[in-house]
Each structure stands twice: as structure tokens, then as C-alpha cells.
């Protein structure tokens, strides 16, 4: 029977993810890592992996556990693997970060932990991919958004396996010419598979459906979404080929990478065109806050890609770092925060009021939140992200710290709003006394899990 239920572990994924984001921003605000160390320094790697794995990947996996069944109209397969996925990734991340700490000179032989942390993270991603790919395989049709997710999951697996190999090199387990080549030329591939193939593709796939659902616009069909999908397929295939060349010959493949970038840019342009068409074709004239905040994230995607093209053309290393900052903290994180603002309220509403629907008056989902209080959070967050990127380009170390502190303040404000929505604090009077749900776990309401 086709039905979607509340995914029990999604909120735990979200909670861990938000903690990782706040930790990373605290480190950035205190000037830990870049620009006080180099981009590839272990301190910077700690911040980067807190964001990429701790925040973005856990956020995306938690969201997919809830929304992939909605995308394909099938119940989630093997839901019992979800807590194991979370435990493996979180513990693997802790080991990985300690390993980087060892390289940064923390006491003890911590760097030996790197491959173990990497292996645990690989295991966690495989468990998550088993749940999600099995769910996809059981669906009778594969709508376009689900196609994006399927490709993104494959890319995630490549990214973490490549990452674990890199971790083994850094820990000194693997040596020789291959190790040198991997560290020199493998890092951009690792980042492209992770930030591009995995996180961006999953975000694109999920947003195709969520945007059309939240602003009541007809789903996108035709040339543009197909161009976006073919573009990402071509880009990923070329990335895989480049990885093959690197493994076989210990050498990079610049032409392949250039073509992959072209295909990716075409895909992003088509995708952004689709998003504009969705917003224009919406049937609800007034946008709720999460959908206007999402516009900020889409703008960051455009800005990030333009910055990347410019800095590659101008051979500006700082520009590349700024572009990655815009894409990770502006596009992916901004979209994540905007969607969380709605998803947390929606899931809480569903958990608390679904049994009352049609029998007693129920509040609207919007009644769980106060948009006026969260609005400054989103405005400050996006402005601070642009400020941070500018600080990177113009080498303003203290300005970057200030931007990160502003981002942190905005995120703390938003997390407090998520918490209030979850605790039903902002509901109007008739429902204020409604029993409150548990913060990070849905209630064991058997009816919804049958």
C-alpha cells in the first residue's frame, strides 16, 4: 500500500546536523583553520568536514528518509537501518575529526584514526544508500526528482570512498606515487563528487518537488528539466572518467574536468530556469517565509557558479575558495535552513494534529511559526554569507570571522524558532495546551506507522 508516514529518525538527523553547523561556525568565528592556516591544512579540514558531512549530509539524508517516499509514492524500505546510518556517520565523523586533529598536532597518535573514521562514514553512507535505493527500486516509476536523488546517492558513495582513500594517504597507510597523485589531483574530484554530485544533485531533485508542492505550481516537464538531468549525468560521467584516469595513470585529466564543468554549468542554468518558471507559475500569490528565503539560496547558487567560472578563468585561487563558500554555506545551507523552517513545522503539525483532522478545529501549519521573528535570521544569514565570500576574495581574515559570527547568530536564532515550532509555543490560544511532542523523536503513534 502506498503511503508516507512520519520518518522516526529524521528529526534526530536534523538535530545532529544543526549541532555540527553551529560547531563549524563557532570554529570559523574564532579564526580556526582558513585563512589562518592553508586551505588544505588539517584545521581547515575539520571545519570543512563538519559542514559537508556533519551538517549537509546528515541534513540531506534525514530529509530524504522523510521525503523520498513522497517523491516515489512508496513506503520507506528498511526503516530500521536509519538509526544505524546516523550512528555510523556521527561516530565516523568524530574519529575523522580527531584524526585531522592528530595531524594538526593534538597530543596522542590520533592521525591513525583517519582511515577508521573514513571507513565508518563509508559504512554509514552505504547503509543510508541501501535504504534509499531500495525504496527507489520498489517504486513503479522514477519521476525526474527521484532520478536526481538516485544519481546523487551514487555520487555520495564515490565521494566517501575517495575520501576514505585520501584519509588513508594522510594517515600514511598508503604511500608512493599514487598517494602523491591522489593528494595533488584527487581533492578537487573528492569535493566535486561530494558538494556537486551528492549534495547539489540531491538538493536539486528534492527542491523540484518541494518547491512545486509548497507554492502550488504545476510540476516541471519538458526540455529544461531534461536538460538539467542530462547535464548532471554527463558531468558525473566525465568526473568518473577523470577519476579512472587518475587511478590508472596517476595524472589529472584537465580536458575532461573542463567538459564536466561545462555540462554542470548548463545543468545549473537549466535548473535555475526551471525554478524561475515554478515561481512564476505558482497559484499562491503570497510567498511564505521559507519560499522567499529559498530565493536567497537559489541566488547564492547562481552567484557561486558565476564566481567559480570567473575565478577559474582568472586563475584566482581565492575566488575558488569564495565560490565553494558561497555554494556550501549560501546555496546548500541556505536552502537547508529555509526548508527546515517549513519541514519542522509541517512534521510537528502532522504528528500532533493529524488524528484531529476533520473532527476538531486544527490550526494551520503556519500557526506553528511566527515568520516575523525568523525573517531577520534569514536576511542576516544570507548577507553575512556574501560578506564572508567577499572577505575571502579580499583576504580580510577578521572580516571573515565577523561574517561567520553573524551567520552563527542567525543560525542560533533560526534553531530557536525551530525549537519553538516543535514545542507548539507559538500556537494561538485554543491549542496552546495541546500535549507537546518530544523534541527530536516523533511519538510512537502506532496508527501512523502501520
Amino acid at each position: 500500500m502506498q503511503m508516507a508516514t512520519i520518518s522516526r529518525w529524521t528529526l534526530a538527523f536534523f538535530g545532529c546536523a544543526l549541532v555540527a553547523l553551529m560547531l563549524a561556525l563557532v570554529l570559523l568565528a574564532f579564526g580556526y583553520g582558513y585563512p589562518n592556516t592553508s586551505v588544505g591544512a588539517p584545521e581547515t579540514l575539520i571545519v570543512v568536514h563538519l559542514i559537508a558531512i556533519g551538517w549537509l549530509s546528515l541534513l540531506m539524508l534525514g530529509a530524504l528518509l522523510q521525503f523520498l517516499p513522497v517523491l516515489v509514492g512508496r513506503e520507506l524500505a528498511l526503516p530500521r537501518l536509519a538509526p544505524m546510518t546516523l550512528a555510523a556517520i556521527v561516530s565516523g565523523l568524530l574519529l575523522l575529526l580527531s584524526g585531522f586533529g592528530g595531524l594538526a598536532g593534538w597530543p596522542g597518535q590520533l592521525s591513525d584514526l583517519l582511515p577508521w573514521g573514513g571507513a565508518l562514514i563509508v559504512a554509514g553512507f552505504f547503509l543510508g544508500a541501501i535504504i534509499l535505493l531500495t525504496t527507489l527500486l520498489r517504486s513503479q516509476s522514477l519521476p525526474l526528482p527521484a532520478g536526481f536523488v538516485a544519481v546523487a546517492l551514487m555520487s555520495a558513495l564515490i565521494a566517501v570512498m575517495l575520501g576514505d582513500t585520501l584519509a588513508s594517504v594522510l594517515a600514511g597507510v598508503i604511500g608512493g606515487d599514487f598517494a602523491v597523485a591522489l593528494v595533488t589531483h584527487g581533492l578537487p574530484l573528492h569535493a566535486a563528487f561530494g558538494l556537486g554530485g551528492w549534495l547539489s544533485l540531491a538538493a536539486m531533485g528534492v527542491s523540484y518537488r518541494l518547491v512545486s508542492m509548497f507554492i502550488v505550481a504545476p510540476e516541471r516537464k519538458g526540455v529544461l528539466p531534461r536538460t538539467a538531468f542530462i547535464g548532471v549525468l554527463v558531468a558525473l560521467a566525465l568526473l568518473c572518467a577523470a577519476l579512472g584516469v587518475l587511478v590508472a595513470q596517476n595524472a589529472p585529466w584537465p580536458i575532461g574536468l573542463g567538459l564536466a564543468a561545462l555540462a554542470a554549468v548548463a545543468a545549473v542554468v537549466a535548473y535555475l530556469g526551471d525554478i524561475v518558471a515554478l515561481y512564476r507559475g505558482r497559484r499562491r500569490p503570497k510567498l511564505e517565509l521559507h519560499m522567499s528565503a529559498a530565493i536567497g539560496a537559489f541566488a547564492m547558487l547562481g552567484l557561486g557558479v558565476v564566481t567559480l567560472i570567473w575565478s577559474v578563468a582568472a586563475a584566482n585561487q581565492l575566488g575558488v575558495v569564495a565560490a565553494v563558500y558561497l555554494l556550501a554555506l549560501g546555496w546548500l545551507s541556505g536552502l537547508g535552513l529555509a526548508m527546515l523552517y517549513k519541514i519542522v513545522a509541517f512534521l510537528t503539525w502532522l504528528e500532533c494534529f493529524a488524528p484531529l483532522m476533520g473532527r476538531a478545529p486544527t490550526p494551520r501549519v503556519q500557526d506553528l511559526v511566527r515568520e516575523g521573528r525568523a525573517l531577520p535570521g534569514f536576511v542576516i544569514y544570507f548577507l553575512a554569507t556574501v560578506l564572508g565570500a567577499a572577505a575571502i576574495v579580499f583576504e580580510g581574515g577578521e572580516l571573515l570571522q565577523m561574517a561567520a559570527a553573524l551567520q552563527l547568530g542567525a543560525v542560533v536564532l533560526l534553531v530557536y524558532q525551530f525549537y519553538r515550532a516543535r514545542q507548539l509555543v507559538d500556537l494561538p490560544d485554543p491549542w496552546r495546551a495541546h500535549p507537546r511532542p518530544r523534541v527530536l523523536m516523533p511519538a510512537n503513534r502506532q496508527r501512523s506507522f502501520s
Binding site: 502506498q2 503511503m3 509548497f214 483532522m357
Partner: protein
């Protein structure tokens, strides 16, 4: 109780014919509560499942010459026997919808609220037809918990989802 309607498909079978259409035609012409006596040259196992889905129980006995006589009896409407439940869950047996809802311009979760509110006002057995912008996957657990049965699909060009819900009685 009215006399069972008798249908002898043995001549048809002996001539190599396919009796299914004739049987279904006879079932469709039964008066409410009327039984069907079927005479066949073998024990018609596959038919039992079909008839169960339509809400009939059966008793089969061999008669002279190796032939079989099967008596199909309709279950009480609203009964809780497996046959009655199966019939209620089969949309072919539902009456025409008496209530219509267009939810295509509503944003989630408004369609769920409207559909469930309408179902609360409907007596058991009545059917609601709703048009939605997408498949209401979060609605199904609630329909199931409240004892409603439903069937739905996308229209030909895939832009609207058509949902039929038969109001159930065993809500929780």
C-alpha cells in the same frame, strides 16, 4: 428469501466455451440478497476468489456424473466477514460518489483536512470523489486508521490526482 438464480454452464463448457462472461452477467442481474446456483463440469476454484471479492461466500458439492453444484450467497451489507470486507474494499462494488471536492488549488495540508472533515460527515458506505494536485501520501495512514477505503490514480496527462474514498464505519 428469494429462490436462488440457477445458471447451468455445463453445455457451454462441453462445447469448449468460456463461461466467465455469462456468470458475471448473471451475478450482475441478481436481486439484492439473491443467491446464485451454478452448475459446472468441474470445481471452479478460480471463480471462488472472484466471487469472494464481490462479497459472496460459497458452498460446493459434487453431483452425479462428476459435475459440481456451487451455491454463492451474498454476505450481509456492513458485515465484518472477510468476504464482506473484501467487497467493501473493491471499488467495483462502490456506489457512485455523492460528494465532490476540488483540492487542486489548496496547499498542504489543507486537502487532507477538507477530505477528512467531509468523510466525518458522511454515513458509512457513501463515496467521496476528490481532485488533488498531487498524490496525498500523508493522507493514507489517516484514512486507514479511520477505517476508510480508497483508490486513486493520476489523470491521463499526469497533472491531477483522482481519489475516491468510501466512508468506513470502524473509525478510531
Amino acid at each position: 428469501m428469494t429462490e436462488p438464480y440457477e445458471l447451468d454452464v455445463r453445455p457451454l463448457l462441453r462445447n469448449g466455451g468460456e463461461p466467465f462472461g455469462a456468470i458475471m452477467g448473471a451475478v450482475g442481474n441478481l436481486a439484492p440478497g439473491q443467491r446464485l446456483r451454478l452448475l459446472a463440469t468441474f470445481r471452479p476454484e478460480p471463480l471462488f476468489k472472484v466471487m469472494e471479492a464481490k462479497g459472496f461466500s460459497y458452498s460446493a458439492k459434487p453431483i452425479e456424473g462428476g459435475d459440481w453444484e456451487v451455491l454463492f450467497s451474498p454476505e450481509d451489507v456492513g458485515g465484518t466477514s472477510p468476504a464482506a470486507l473484501a467487497r467493501d474494499n473493491d471499488p467495483d462494488n462502490w456506489p457512485d460518489p455523492t460528494h465532490y471536492l476540488d483540492c487542486t488549488d489548496m496547499d498542504p495540508p489543507e486537502p487532507m483536512v477538507q477530505i477528512l472533515a467531509q468523510l466525518e460527515r458522511m454515513p458509512e458506505g457513501e463515496v467521496l470523489f476528490a481532485l488533488l494536485g498531487r498524490e496525498p501520501v500523508f493522507l493514507y495512514p489517516e484514512l486507514q486508521a479511520r477505517g476508510h477505503s480508497w483508490v486513486g490514480d493520476f489523470d491521463a496527462d499526469g497533472t491531477a490526482f483522482r481519489l475516491m474514498v468510501r466512508a468506513g464505519g470502524a473509525s478510531s
